[in-house]
Symmetry: C2
Subunit: 391 residues, 2 copies
């Protein structure tokens, strides 16, 4: 009898009805949302019998000017609001509901990502590009959150390091890919929004990318770690722009390399170092590779922000043309630039390419559809990683 | 001009107004929620001018029977609903809003945890116990998510491993603490809900706990990893009870020990092994330590579920009394049992203690306030870890 009571009670806990656990009001009726249909349309559902209006905002939806055009959901007689999309290409997507003007996460979908101060639900459509972003039954790398010293900055600083499957058990040395986030990001961004560990696991398992270590830093020198992961506590994240043109990230990047090369089995030479980043991280990758001109053989600028303001005083930003000339003379295997056709930084990239062209500085150029989005940055990572360390 | 446009556009992105980024409807007015006031009361706020009723559900709130009594928020003339709590003791807390019957996460608080299929916001009150759960300016350990082989199970399986500050740079060998989750958990639970890495960082920095490696497994043999981290994809989590009395977790625990002792610098002897778990993990810790009777010198049962059903056929569950006798004869340094006074498993623990008493099997007993809650399990970890490896 006691055992039956135990099982019953466990079942009660599982429905969230015990005060000792946490209530879940979404469970009175079993709602499936999002439901990926067999034709790759997606049905969203929300139980909200008292709502007057439920809208959907998703990152695949068209926009008018800067603003996404929201999609209305329709209510049925049971109080469930729903909407089914058109067929969506295989990819990872994000969305939220807006209920009577209030942003509401889907209570039936626990899969979420944070972008700066916004939390969104995510879902994945398989059968194409999305398969690269999915955890597959392949050997998995290890993802470690560590802290390294950077004596001239507020330190220790948090860093995310991916080591490929087989690293622990083996004795091989590996090449290293430094992968930098944008202005709204931190050392979690490429993992959470960029699906970096899934992309690397899958590309390596398919034989399309070399096994490599991927190092994801925090590019904001005014923070030691992602929101919630430092002694600042649970503060409200924002865009902390003041540090982005200080040059401190670039000037102290040697501490990152030193930490990695002291603590991991790496091939510590130029041929086995790559650096790439998105937006602000593209800006960082440009200046770090130019200021350490014989350090990286592979450089990737993803939707890069390129030029610091004229009053940016750091020596990191001085004499860029001369630094690029030195980098050119030293040589490199790949200088890769990717940008979306509707990215607000498109013209910056046109200007930068003109500069490079006028110097006969060789680079590969990739122009994609879309704008300044994680969809593009995941795509660029998927295309860039296979080109690394193939010599 | 271009640079000014660039800065302006970056600012626009930071307010979430660009369609290329994700809209955040919460930002029209700057709302602070939750606000921890200087007297340790907490003010919650939600902008919802169209709502008829906004309620708060928090894990510190009183309950009637099984159900938490919800707290009403009051609306002001700007459409902001608010409520201020009584003074709360220093701890980590979780909550959600209920808006016109719909569970709504606080759009102004990005800090969340998932418990099975429920996502909740969290906040922390400093100045006491909560300080142990906070990231402090102390040396930090590394937290790695790895995959290990367990040939008789669906494998590889995901595992979370904490190594203390100094592990990478040093050459010392460390003791190992195996820390197991409950029926609703996985290899993320002790990190996300249990604040294990913060507790260990802080206790070690204060000299209250020995530096140790902490190993957090996934105790559900029907899953290889936490929801979203395996090839099952983004399925809706539930309580997957079918595997809990199979004995497979216990029978294959040797694979975990083998992985840890092959891949980390550990002291691989009984004196330097501890095992503890909460609820189902307490059950696992009891049976693993009894079935491997000369392996663990420190055993912790936190709010343990204790007896498998009579039809549980695994050899792991057979002859418990004889196994306990062997464990008793072999000796151990600490057998610790903690339970809350209102825990639904309280009587099970009374019965188990009677059994131990009748055998003169020595144990330490800790009875706390409250029930089957993460507040208790964090507390137990904070008290148990300092007792480990002190010989």
């Amino acid at each position: 009898m006691k055992r039956i009571l135990f099982i019953l009670t466990i079942c009660l806990i599982s429905t969230g009805l015990l005060a000792q656990q946490n209530l879940d009001f979404s469970k009175k009726v079993e709602i499936i949302s999002p439901q990926i249909n067999s034709d790759n349309t997606v049905t969203f559902r929300l139980m909200a019998p008292n709502a007057k209006e439920v809208k959907l905002q998703g990152d695949w939806m068209p926009s008018e000017g800067w603003i996404t055009k929201l999609q209305d959901l329709q209510k049925d007689e049971t109080g469930v609001w729903s909407f089914t999309t058109q067929v969506l290409p295989s990819d990872l997507y994000s969305y939220t509901f807006i209920v009577d003007g209030l942003k509401v996460l889907d209570p039936n979908n626990v899969y979420q990502v944070r972008d700066v101060a916004t939390v969104m639900n995510i879902f994945l459509i398989e059968g194409g590009l999305g398969d690269l972003y999915k955890v597959q039954d392949v050997p998995h790398g290890t993802v470690a959150r560590c802290w390294y010293d950077s004596p001239k900055l507020d330190s220790p600083r948090r860093i995310t390091i991916y080591t490929p499957a087989g690293y622990e058990a083996g004795k091989d040395k590996y090449p290293v890919f430094y992968l930098l986030h944008g202005m709204g990001g931190d050392e979690e961004a490429w993992m959470a929004l960029g699906r970096a560990s899934q992309i690397l696991d899958n590309l390596i398992a398919q034989g399309k990318a070399k096994p490599m270590i991927v190092v994801m830093t925090n590019g904001h020198t005014s923070n030691t770690a992602a929101p919630g992961e430092s002694s600042k506590g649970f503060y409200k994240p924002d865009m902390r722009a003041p540090d982005i043109f200080s040059g401190d990230m670039e000037a102290n990047f040697g501490d990152v390399i030193k930490f990695v090369e002291s603590n991991y089995r790496v091939k510590a030479d130029k041929q086995n170092r790559a650096i790439a980043g998105l937006s602000m991280g593209g800006f960082h990758s440009l200046y770090i590779s130019a200021n350490y001109p014989n350090t990286f053989d592979y450089i990737g600028l993803f939707s890069p922000a390129i030029l610091p303001p004229a009053n940016a005083a750091s020596p990191m930003y001085v004499d860029l043309d001369a630094k690029l000339k030195t980098q050119q003379d030293n040589g490199y295997s790949l200088y890769w630039i990717g940008i979306g056709k509707t990215d607000f930084l498109f013209q910056n990239v046109v200007d930068y390419r003109s500069k490079l062209d006028s110097m006969k500085f060789k680079y590969q150029y990739r122009e994609s559809e879309g704008g300044h989005t994680w969809a593009n940055w995941r795509l660029y990572l998927s295309e860039f990683a296979p080109m690394l360390f193939q010599k």
